[in-house]
């Protein structure tokens, strides 16, 4: 860096200091407060109390449930994801490309809205499917109870299997076909090749995807909150929610929550560490970056049945719940049959234009999403610039602090923000929209850093130096060269934050106040209060907003790639 005089404190150091300060305030302080509250009692370090909290039946059960549920979802999700990935990459299934896109749709849908739909369909007494079997077909008992471990695992699997699907289908597509061809020449049939060559080679991808499912499921709030609380199935995030909500500031509840949060953070760190190891050790060189055309397995007689099976799966997991949400959202009263005289647009009209609670929620989510995305995008580009481009000592700290929230579950971030910003340091923004904004910034900073660092790494130093040699000052070089080249990364970062923030529930449900509900919170609380039709109608609106947003981002990304 060239400054007029040799000073020890120039622009790089200033930017570095600012970046560290932002990340410390937003990320480090809340996180440290959680550990501090968990392990520090009356001014001294205390582990026995932590053990005591952990051995309390309530906490113990929550830990156990989190484990059972996440392991269950991981197993089923991995099987489902791997099977469909193999089907769309390595067989002659009809319409493979379209099917592949359809299998990614569940990623767009918020799991808690799915859970809501499944509750409407399969709750033991009122669920439409159960009622159909009992009332119309004369069954004595409901055919399936969604308020169980199995129900929760089933619903989470539907929305989390794409983690494995994406990883495995990617690996199968990139695998060098000569590896399989040479096995074939050696005399192995396709079944043997799949078993002995293909599966071992994609195993790292399967494991990595499976660990992502586990990480996500462990920290997942929505589905368990909708389906589990009814029958007393709590996992760690839902118990943290329960503790914070009933606590009203009680120290014991907050302590339990911080201990739970600590367990969650440690588990998440272990899972991410394992995933890193799997990825760095297991990515065989043979999976090249190029796209090859691998050998296809002829499904023969199974071709049509498997195709129908895929369609049925998509119909059952995407179309049915989505339709249910919109239909229930249009019902005059929950529980009425779906016939035209029971259906109305009045609910949609009411929540969109008349009811302050839902209108506030939509406004809150959109403004929170926009502002957190904008702030995080700009902060992210500056911090990434320091990390990627500047020669300052200790920028590893920045990287660590910025990426930390990536491994920290939303409920933990929310808890940390509560501890830090409800008066402890003279600032009390609890119950205001600002505390949610702060939590969103902390939560999504990692997304922004990833997108912006990737974009900045493309901008070679020599491009800036060429501008300097052409007579541009540092500012002019940034304006004319760096910013235009990084803009796509910034736009990507914006949408990577804006869309998840729109449908966010886990963080905001711990932080909302009377007038600061987000869409997610409004859907969830309306459902809790028995306002099922309004809850469904709002969920329908949310789905429309989310799908429109996803389409917009797809268009932006493809038009950028074409130019």
């Amino acid at each position: 860096m060239s400054t007029k005089t040799e000073s020890r404190f120039g622009t790089p150091e200033l930017l570095f200091g600012l970046s560290v300060a932002v990340l410390v305030i937003v990320v480090a302080v809340p996180m440290l407060l959680i550990f501090f509250n968990a392990f520090w009692v009356d001014g001294h370090f205390n582990v026995t109390d932590v053990v005591k909290v952990l051995r309390h039946p309530e906490t113990y059960m929550a830990l156990w449930n989190s484990l059972v549920l996440s392991v269950g979802v991981t197993i089923t999700g991995t099987i489902v994801g791997t099977f469909f990935a193999w089907l769309v990459t390595r067989t002659d299934l009809p319409f493979k490309k379209t099917m592949k896109l359809l299998f990614l749709v569940p990623f767009m849908l918020p799991a808690f809205i799915g859970a809501l739909a499944w509750k409407m369909l399969l709750s033991p007494r009122a669920g439409y499917i159960n009622r159909f079997f009992m009332d119309v077909l004369g069954f004595d008992n409901p055919i399936f109870d969604i308020y169980t471990y199995a129900g929760i695992i089933l619903v989470e699997t539907m929305y989390l299997f794409p983690f494995v699907f994406i990883q495995v289908s990617g690996a199968l597509e990139r695998m060098d076909p000569t590896l399989e061809e040479s096995a074939r020449i050696s005399g192995a049939d396709l079944f043997t090749i799949t078993r002995k060559i293909t599966i071992p080679l994609v195993l790292p991808s399967i494991l990595s995807g499976a660990l992502l499912i586990m990480l996500y499921s462990m920290a997942h709030f929505g589905t368990v909150a909708v389906l589990g609380i009814e029958t007393g199935i709590y996992n760690i995030p839902t118990l943290i929610y329960e503790k914070i909500h009933q606590s009203a500031g009680s120290f014991a509840s907050i302590r339990t929550a911080t201990v739970l949060a600590t367990v969650l953070v440690i588990t998440a760190a272990i899972i991410l560490w394992l995933q890193n190891r799997v990825l760095s050790k297991g990515r065989y060189q043979i999976i090249a970056g190029k796209s090859f055309r691998p050998a296809e397995l002829k499904l023969r007689g199974l071709r049509v049945p498997l195709f129908i099976f895929c369609l049925a799966y998509i119909g059952f997991t995407i179309v049915l719940p989505t339709a249910t949400i919109f239909m229930v959202g249009g019902l005059k009263t929950y529980g009425l049959p779906f016939v035209s005289e029971n259906l109305t647009f009045a609910n949609y009209n009411h929540i969109l234009f008349e009811w302050d609670l839902t209108r506030d929620a939509i406004w809150n989510s959109i403004s929170l999403g926009l502002s957190s995305a904008l702030i995080t995008m700009f902060a992210g580009v500056i911090i990434s610039y320091v990390i990627v481009k500047m020669k300052v000592r200790g920028k590893g700290i920045l990287e660590f602090l910025g990426m930390l929230p990536f491994s920290v579950p939303g409920s933990v971030i929310a808890l940390g923000v509560i501890l830090a910003w409800s008066g402890k340091f003279g600032i009390n923004i609890y119950n205001t929209v600002w505390i949610i904004l702060l939590a969103y910034i902390a939560r999504y900073m990692a997304f922004s850093l990833k997108a912006n660092s990737a974009a900045l790494e493309q901008v070679h130093d020599s491009l800036v130096e060429a501008a300097r040699a052409s007579g541009a000052t540092m500012g002019q070089a940034l304006r004319d060269i760096v910013v235009p080249l990084v803009r796509p990364g910034m736009i990507a970062a914006f949408f990577l934050i804006f869309l998840p923030a729109l449908r966010e529930l886990t963080v905001s449900v711990l932080l909302y106040g009377p007038t600061t509900r987000t869409i997610g919170v409004a859907i969830y609380t309306l459902n809790e209060d028995g306002e099922t039709v309004y809850s469904a109608a709002l969920a329908g609106i949310a789905l429309i907003i989310i799908v429109l947003g996803e389409l917009l981002i797809k268009r932006l990304v493809t038009s950028k790639n074409n130019s």
Partner: protein, 365 residues
Amino acid sequence: MANIQIKGVSKQYAGRSILADLSLDINDGECFTLLGPSGCGKTVLMRLIAGFETPDSGTISIGGEFVANAATGQMVPPDKRGLGMVFQDYAVWPHMSVFDNVAYPLKLAGTEAVSLRERTMRAVGLVGLDGLEQRLPSQLSGGQQQRVALARALVSEPRLLLLDEPLNNLDANLREEMRFEIKALQKKLGITILYVTHDQEIALAIADRVAVMDERGILRQIGAPEEVYEHPADDFVFRFLGIANFLPVRREGRDLFIGGSSTAWVGPTPDKAGGKFTAGFRPSDVMLARDSSGHPGLPGIIRRASFLGAQVDYLIDIAGTLVRAALPSHECLDRDLLFVEGDNCRVGLATVQWFEGDIIVGERV
């Protein structure tokens, strides 16, 4: 005036010394090449001149004006040094058209539109890219991108042009063509050029003067290309400027022998006193004769013979040391000098560079 004066410049990275107390004068209007192996610090020296690095000690001045002075902390930023620079990786801005790339320095200088357009098009024409000015860099070949970089460096008619291995990534034909073009441009515009490369052929072809730098960042020799080539200051320079053969020679009384053997040395004799020498010569300095012809010369055995079209390349064992010889094909045909492996021959040397002492030479394969 754009002469460069470098006085006592040192530069360290992470405690490792790259350049130590280096001094160098580059004259106004000359094409000066800095030749050295990769990683020797020549790019660092160029970046010091450009202003992307600050010297730990010493001064740099361009056109008689200090641009960097470690003692006073004075440092003129790169954009105020009035230079053009071509980077090793082109550094053509991918989001700007050829025209916008080339016009950028003029735009920054506030050139008015008509003159900007005219001068930009002239620079584009100068490097032979007419008609391509609306293309984006991604639509150009590597050689064309290189020329965009050159046009951009030239457009504002800088007093000093810095070229960092600009022809590295081009294919052989284009490299040769660009080499001539750069030289022609320099003559036409009368600018000072500093050209950094590890390719001795380009360095010699293009330069008015060459400086050879070794791995430790020390300048071994500065001089005109033919002077450096014909009278290398030491064996490093000799070795760096082309394929080098070395034969150890020992003096006993008045007689000369090869290495530790009893084979007598035939050829030019060293003009210095001393017991141990190394004879350095190029493959093209080797003259061959049939063993049976009765010509005087060192006895050799052909270990490998490769016919390369215009010339024939031989690997010859002389008293246990392998040397390479290159003979014009027509000469080999006319004089029956097409040897095969295992043939005996007589080796004569047209010129020899004498280095004192033993120079350890790696085994040649």
